[in-house]
Symmetry: C2
Subunit: 328 residues, 2 copies
């Protein structure tokens, strides 16, 4: 019983093994508690069947839901996921990517905080990088994202449909085109309706940022009657600020949010959101990363969907009890 035969059995190929020999090998594996060594296999085969996931903060529900779906999609393909969310702590993004490559990942999924991420290290190493959460294609790389601008227009139109004429915007510092596109969508809707842009508050893409935005919004001379908030995180903080100030929601202040994380469903009032199809995007991302043909360098854009709940002023809930609870 040579090591070659063991390999044939373990990998079901590339050569045939007599059924009887096969049985003996399997039995020996069982008895000796043999486990193939992943490092040796990776060394020999040249692939580690591991991908890297680089995000800024897995604590952000949008990214944690994204990560969940990515790990799921990867597992379906027999891939493991190494993640890092300490980009800012460890050093510049490119360093983090480089460390991933040194780890021997076969590819990198990157949700960059930069508008033009530095991907030279990956290019030099010949490691494919797929960009998550993008509004635009990136030459030489595949990417996925959603229709930020169009979706935002629809969201704001909904607010306009409620009769609001002074609609503010809570936006963020980072995000590049994903942010500016959402801002443009807000502008588009207002322009179409012949409305002036309401106040704009720019803050961090966090709950704290949203809270701060709310506080500042209420200090304005002319407070808007409704706001479009670019992320669920900020919306949660924004709602909190409104409550602290004693406002009645959504009567005193209507809110429509972008993202559609689970958290948005349980705020008070429940947030009306443009929901990004995170799960679909995640699965597409993992699949695209696996392809290595030249024409896989595409930007895959997904449609978001309006989920009407109560923060916009609608008195009913369309999706409150829709998914069976998972145990934790």
């Amino acid at each position: 019983m040579s090591s070659a035969v063991v390999s044939y059995v373990v990998n079901s190929g590339p050569r045939n093994v007599a059924p009887e020999t096969r049985e003996r090998v399997l039995q020996a594996i069982e008895e000796l508690g043999y486990r193939p060594n992943a490092s040796a296999r990776a060394l020999k085969r040249g692939v580690s069947e591991t991908i890297g996931l680089v995000i800024s903060d897995i604590t952000n529900p949008y990214f944690s839901e994204y990560s969940h779906a990515i790990e799921e999609a990867a597992a379906e393909r027999g891939l493991s996921v190494i993640f890092t969310n300490s980009a800012l702590a460890v050093g510049p993004e490119r360093e983090v990517i480089y460390k991933m490559i040194l780890r021997g990942v076969d590819g990198v999924l990157l949700a960059s905080t930069l508008d033009e991420p530095d991907l030279d290290v990956a290019r030099a190493a010949g490691i494919p990088v797929l960009l998550l959460d993008r509004a635009r294609p990136v030459v030489g790389h595949a990417s996925v994202g959603s229709n930020f601008r169009e979706a935002s227009r629809i969201a704001v139109e909904h607010l306009i449909g409620h009769g609001h004429r002074r609609i503010g915007l809570v936006t963020g510092f980072t995000g590049g085109a994903t942010t500016t596109d959402r801002e443009e969508g807000w502008r588009d809707a207002l322009a179409e309706a012949g409305l002036e842009p309401g106040p704009i508050i720019r803050t961090h893409f966090t709950r704290e940022g949203g809270f701060e935005a709310g506080t500042r919004m209420l200090q304005l001379e002319l407070t808007p009657t409704a706001v479009y908030v670019l992320s669920d995180q900020q919306s949660i903080g924004y709602l909190n600020a409104m409550h602290q100030a004693g406002l009645q929601l959504p009567d005193d202040m209507a809110v429509v949010s972008f993202d559609g994380t689970t958290e948005s469903k349980f705020s008070w009032p429940p947030l009306t959101v443009m929901r990004q199809p995170v799960r679909e995007m995640a699965h597409a991302a993992v699949e695209l990363l696996g392809k290595r043909d030249a024409d896989s360098h595409v930007h895959h854009c997904f449609d978001s969907q309006l989920v009407v709940r109560q923060s916009c002023g609608c008195g009913f809930i369309t999706d409150h009890v829709d998914s069976p609870a998972a145990s934790a």
Copy 2:
């Protein structure tokens, strides 16, 4: 310039290299774009400098905050983290652990859904497993957790201090001793105060579960005036159910929660919580996993801390704006 010398330079040892040779090597590395191969190194050294993180659901903010801190602690030690949260989808927990081991991780961090996780595969492979989120020691393994029972007693005492006499409990299906201990803590506080246990609702450890618990709670003949909820997730759902029913919080229903995730700070009303020191536990976990001496098989228990906000009936906030916003 032999491969050995390159190795000495790259690893700064174990033998000395003449400064001049060293320079030449570094220059060659630069010019040729040489990157050490992680698989070959792992094969030779017998360690991959990679750890596995097995959790049920990274979408749960408690676990995503835990994961964040774990990755941070691991990165500080030069370790990579492979995570999986598809335990239930992929198969039984032991299968997931086994796959991690096949991946060649040096150790596993496990937040088990089981009270007595099956760790035979890890034992057989000689891979250390550290259990997260535990109430009790596990023979042969290190573990970390918090003082679930004592912390719960303090939380409920706070509610009693507000004058509540009928205090309900929202608990969960899973969690083993971490759950029963929290239940006991609730009982302890009530018994000490000479109060009868209020109604108990058992549901999933999710927002949906909390919502359902709230709905059921309000259908009882004798509705409690306050509840102790065993997780932030459930609290968020519970609050939502209260709002839907038109209750005034915290006057009509006071709530104290367990966990203390960031989300708890921005609910309405902001949740008074027993906060688990997740970051400290995560760092301790990574460090303990690294030690291989026999006496490292300890249970490291951390104290939780009462964070008073508004859901309990306190009219002030102690910690609302405490942390600088991080960019996302």
